[in-house]
Point group: C2
Chain length 504, copies 2
């Protein structure tokens, strides 16, 4: 073994040790949102800050820089998408970015995540924005420091976006979204004015939560989430956390009067979960074992939630199970009507429960507001007013209280500023990827109706999951879709679904 090979071996060890700490941090966070009693938050903040500090020290470590340097000869003369080239390129990028974030700032962020999130949970439960306001202030101040530490060309938002979606900026995303901003209100208007009515009232019938839990699990299993390597748990705000491909935790929430919301959230998280389960386990800790980006991640969650989960084929297969899970409740509802109901398009308050058309309007609202706050153009204390005003303009509705307005999402309390646009990016990628899958695999819907979901999952694993961070996200999306990225496929999909549901 030569010098470079030796260094590379040590580099892999270093990366894996860091990944073990990250997996521990993820478990502590998962527990915080699923099992930790409220009193545990102080100690948990200390635990997470401590681990964040240990991780940040490792990611910045001079020894890591040296190992990268010494390994470099191995990447010479090999294609840029060869394993060793990918590992060295991505690990170098991580190291370079980590060096800009002081250990202390990483610790502060980890601590703030726990405490701001706790304040958010309480404020949301009590519909009391004032309780969350000081924390929102702290979050945006800290994330402004974070952005400045990372560095940017004038717009701090760019630095944050790049953390979730390398290569993107506020501008590149706004440009990509522009045709959607244009098309969606028009589609919404056509549905409202010309669609044949959809009766979604059966969806608010009372369904026992225990039965919902079993059904959500069955749905995740049906589309391919592997419960031998993962679990589904209750939470306040649904999320997915992958400790390793062998241990992936997904969560959802249940309300007796709105079973379909928790159901689709479970499918959404299962989409994330299957991506995590599909990463190469042998590459644990290396960039090849990590998901490509949050936008690609959201493309998988939104694909399973919507493209698969709201398809006619899925419901032909799955509606009988809904019927038998809630004995008697849906006996008078025809399968086709149920499928139309779950595709109802109607302005509503809660993003995660929104239909496919209005969903992106929810994102645009947040995308605009978080940029304004980060830039200092909007004060956190003015958020509720600004939210409600824009919401009324976009949706024609005014939230009755902040829990169905600006307090509904966990993200800002969790310091995830700049994350929201990855959802619309995910929707765009998902539609393109799904079009391509249908072109290559034939009529997926017919397969779903027979309960066959494996071919799609296999294809996604082959095209996306197994590659980890081999390609930058935009490049990966274009490779898979076989076309330049564009919201056109998403618009086509939404129009087709509107045709199916509303006879347009």
């Amino acid at each position: 073994m030569n010098q470079a090979e030796k260094a590379f071996g040590k580099l892999l060890d270093h990366l894996r040790e860091t990944a073990l700490l990250q997996a521990s941090m993820r478990l502590l966070s998962w527990d915080q949102e699923t099992h930790m009693p409220p009193g545990g938050a102080e100690i948990r903040a200390g635990q997470l800050a401590q681990l964040a500090g240990l991780i940040q020290r490792r990611r910045r470590a001079a020894v890591l820089g040296r190992l990268l340097e010494e390994s470099r000869p191995l990447a010479e003369g090999v294609p840029p998408d060869a394993d060793v080239a990918v590992i060295l390129r991505e690990a170098q990028r991580d190291h370079d970015r980590a060096k800009r974030i002081p250990v202390r700032l990483a610790e502060q962020r980890a601590r703030l995540r726990v405490l701001a999130r706790r304040a958010w949970v309480e404020a949301r439960a009590e519909r009391d924005f004032a309780r969350f306001r000081p924390w929102l202030d702290k979050v945006f101040k800290l994330m402004r420091r974070w952005a400045d530490a990372l560095g940017h060309d004038g717009n701090p938002y760019d630095a944050l976006v790049d953390d979730y979606e390398r290569g993107e900026t506020a501008r590149s995303l706004a440009d990509l979204f522009a045709p959607l901003r244009e098309a969606l209100p028009a589609l919404l208007g056509r549905i409202r004015d010309h669609g044949r009515p959809v009766d979604a009232s059966p969806l608010s019938r009372l369904c026992p939560v225990d039965a919902q839990r079993g059904l959500a699990r069955a749905a995740c299993e049906t589309v391919g989430f592997d419960f031998a390597r993962g679990d589904l748990t209750d939470t306040v705000h649904p999320f997915c956390s992958g400790l390793s491909p062998e241990d992936v935790r997904i969560t959802t929430r249940y309300r007796a009067e709105a079973f379909i919301d928790g159901f689709f959230s479970a499918l959404h998280e299962a989409g994330h979960g299957m991506y995590e389960q599909g990463l190469p386990a042998g590459e644990f800790g290396t960039p090849l074992g990590q998901a490509c980006s949050f936008g690609i991640h959201e493309s998988q969650s939104r694909l399973f939630e919507n493209l698969v989960g709201r398809s006619a084929g899925f419901w032909r297969h799955f509606f009988p199970r809904v019927r038998s899970a809630f004995a008697g409740v849906f006996d008078d509802v025809a399968a086709g009507d149920f499928h139309r109901a779950v595709n109802q398009v109607r302005p509503s308050f809660i993003r995660v429960d929104a239909d496919e058309v209005t969903y992106n309007l929810h994102i645009f609202l947040r995308f605009d507001l978080e940029q304004a706050i980060l830039a200092g153009d909007l004060k956190p204390r003015d958020l509720p007013g600004a939210w409600n005003e824009r919401f009324a303009a976009l949706f024609g509705l005014t939230p009755a209280h902040d829990a169905e307005g600006c307090l509904q999402d966990v993200h800002w309390g969790a310091t995830l500023v700049g994350y929201f646009p990855t959802y619309t990016l995910g929707n765009i990628y998902a539609a393109q990827i799904y079009e391509r899958a249908r072109a290559e695999l034939g009529d997926l819907d017919e397969g779903f109706a027979r309960g066959e979901f494996a071919p799609l999952l296999r294809w996604l694993g082959e095209k996306i999951y197994r590659h980890g961070r081999r390609y930058p996200p935009a490049e990966l999306a274009e490779r898979v879709a076989g076309a330049p990225r564009s919201p056109a496929a998403l618009v086509r999909h939404l129009e087709a679904r509107a045709a199916e549901t509303y006879g347009l």
Copy 2:
């Protein structure tokens, strides 16, 4: 602030940082036994070994030794049970012992705990000792190295016991237990030969597991476990894990045909849990915020499981809730008969489900066998034979398979060699402590019948919980009991209960 005060401040910070890592380790272990999918074991072993290594490094650190040294003047001229004296004495003891255990050995033990435990779960499920045997080998070999590293006067078992119960040796425990070894078979014989029959058959009636879960929770709440600062979860082998007084996890297991077993296990763990919740939260990380010993810990679990949980007063209060939880199942059973049933004394295979009399025989069996294995007098491969032979001699029964024999307990798979005697020590202390509580608080049973459990818990908190490691365990027990330790109180208790149950 002088030099010593400055050093002491830094010492407290050092101890708290270590405690944060320990809390993270405990959460990872709790998760391993409650939620982790089987595939997660490899990564989990890596995570726990890593944290064990970080902790061991901190506990051995030269800087810790220096801070202890520099703080020493603060303990001069103060009483030995003053806070600062206790912290310095106990932290010094921990540091001295930690220095004898190499980091690598601590890492190996943490890794082995995960992998050996997984092998145990599988072997137990398949009733296949051969699957566990190589791991049992590894555990005893490693624990022999651990004992030798700690140092001992010829008997390695002493070093391990001292880890759980400072000041005890194989000899001191054997001497303490001797009168019990004598008294119990005689009591068992009298019950068998002269007791009026007890009908325990209602206890095997089918009780839905969901209702059991709710009832176990209600029972823990009734005796004083605080669910705002803790939680109760399902597991394979019941245990308690305190991350901090604000976050205490207890677990139990349920079988439809033996509801009372999971019920008493829950009360047992609630006893542990209330001790953890009663430690002074402000002392997190210092010896004053840590439980005194495992023997004292078990005295609290066994006290709530048996002295409280099998009392007439408890069942006068609680039986109506059992009746309504399992609608119809116990309608034909009188409260008094139910209480006699839960106090039935009869040789049986499973330790944690054993009655109060035979329970200690289960411990003696394990106490003898683990000493023999550690000393090399018994080969792990010969364990099933040795177990069954001694079991037949003690109980007059032969296990049908190893899952109801030598594979029943998690302890050896979790590297807890030397732990078992703390249960009988706990029983002895519990009886003495409870006698004293009755002397000071009056008729506890009458209070229980009215649902009043708080006075006892308050008293225990005052006498035991709030002191942390202020006194060595044997001294604490004697202080609380107001008498030298002895199994006499336990024998008196068992005879009184036999009189009540069997009319002896």
